[in-house]
Point group: C2
Chain length 377, copies 2
Amino acid sequence: MNIFVAGTGITKFGELWDKSFYDLAEEASLGAIKDAGIKVADIDAVFVANMLFGKIDNQDHLGAVVASLLGTQAPAIRIEGACASGGLAIHSAIQSLESGMYKNVLVLGIEKMTDVSSAEIGSYLMGAGSEEERKAGLTFPGLYALIARAHMQKFGTTREHMAAVAVKNHYHASLNDKAQFPYEVTVEKVLKSPVISNPFTLFDASPITDGAAAVVLSSNSKKGAVRITGSAVATDTIDLAKRQSLTELSATKIAARKAYQQAGVTAADIQVAEVHDCFTIAEILAMEDLGFCKKGDGGEFVMSGATKLGCDLPINTSGGLKACGHPVGATGVKQIIEIAHQLTGIATNRQVKNAKRGLAQNVGGTGATVTVHILEK
Amino acid sequence: MNIFVAGTGITKFGELWDKSFYDLAEEASLGAIKDAGIKVADIDAVFVANMLFGKIDNQDHLGAVVASLLGTQAPAIRIEGACASGGLAIHSAIQSLESGMYKNVLVLGIEKMTDVSSAEIGSYLMGAGSEEERKAGLTFPGLYALIARAHMQKFGTTREHMAAVAVKNHYHASLNDKAQFPYEVTVEKVLKSPVISNPFTLFDASPITDGAAAVVLSSNSKKGAVRITGSAVATDTIDLAKRQSLTELSATKIAARKAYQQAGVTAADIQVAEVHDCFTIAEILAMEDLGFCKKGDGGEFVMSGATKLGCDLPINTSGGLKACGHPVGATGVKQIIEIAHQLTGIATNRQVKNAKRGLAQNVGGTGATVTVHILEK
């Protein structure tokens, strides 16, 4: 695989009531194109990752919308796979480059979520689950709470283990000026915040966020550019109830195995990772399923401090979905940007020292879609 | 380009109130897989083209939904580009094969439109247009009527020219047992049907349709399989009002030029075509912009009978969107199936004799996205 991250652009993540979808699309896209040192006319195709704008503002056809906004007649395509839309768009963009049909492509991940009520967003997001789950009245906090309860029962994972994820990711976000919640929290604050879906309290959950993230990917090598060496996708039953196991995401394991194989590495070779912590338990599962620690040990692994900035394997240095924010379509692209910045050495006050190889894991639904990417300096 | 249509599957197109989205997805997908002589386990990835199911039934994440339904953990992705979703999914699937990452992929185009009111569907479909067009109260019949009026004024195109498209496509549909309207109509019937948006009457418009169409594409050659030799996409302004010209689709011209170049052919080499006749005027524009006749001559070209089955260049032998039906996400895939069947010689009573090379043109919105594919025996 011969793919380079040629440029990156990202907006502030948060409640951006003074910015439109179009403002965010333009800011991130032009940022990435400028950073790549190219012009709009050099972009051979545009990939737009977005889940909800059709429901929120009745605007679909976002490939053409964004191409039109940028003033290009290049091919443009919208990719959707719920919260994994960003990772899927990166994967498709890579294949378009590997096919030889395109040389430079723009991948824009974007979501504008805070212009409608939380109740509406909560309902819309259930489009990532199944018909049966919607009929049963389940929500994503509820679905992930079932996973958390199963993990607690099987492996003795505790509320304190989960809280440790939130505390670490808020610390990382406090070093990231793009983050939605750039401040620290304590274990006590997490545990005493309102219960949203037992065993979760408010601070176990990622927020509703506006934001956009864009990368220019290129098959032309660029001096100093980070290379993508692994890109894999796997799926699983859309219904959580139909899974073989509630305590692992099978699709993460399959996608990770393929991506490691493509890159010719193992989990032990990864020095920095962004994983899909939509709820604190999801980061614990991710670490286990990616092979960063043994199955069942995720809680202890995060509590040990191993995944905090400055330690062995910093995870979610951006602050993760939890504290950097989770603009659904943008998340998978933001993960690639964070890893690319870490490997390039431009992650400023949250720089991981001498990181040469990183991984990004993006999840749709409760694990029905998972993408894994590996990047190298 | 080394891509083969290894198998095809298609459902009846129409008002299928006794079939669910899932029924249609399964029927078309398993049909294509069986026709390819392979098993679900041989499918390396699934591409799902769909525009509206997120709005109609709150179900997004359709890649995983369909993979789950088929019982595979293969990568799966949803592609959306309004009414060009099918063509875009074919294009992305081709790139995934050309990248060497996959060998056999399933492309499913699907739409279930008749379970909600026409008013809702009309509103949802405006997601293919722009924010400004929605604010102005425009609808697709209205937008294409503007194109028709401009074409009439500039080139002297008449209502009779447009009616000839409907009459021909209904005749073709009368030979297709999958078609929504498998019966003939007369010029008089078209002209005297109720006005829906002046100059259009009811019979100038394609209908609201349920249906699914699937193909297995493969990079392994299969004896007798049709080859895809050109695949190109182009975009244009999402707003019709911002176009340089109302009487051509610039994106069709760009995509056609690229596709002809890839295939090493010209318009004169095409012997059968499926074009995007969402309204009768759209088929007239398509013939001109694809180079089948001179700009402005489209009306006379269809009136001459040249594009009718049995004549020089049969167009929309399936019945087109107009009479075979237009289940949005399925349309671009159905076009590929029709051309593949024509080139294989299995188009039964609507077979074009000795057809060796065909073309499919799929349009999103009023031409903001266009895909062109060329197939050869």
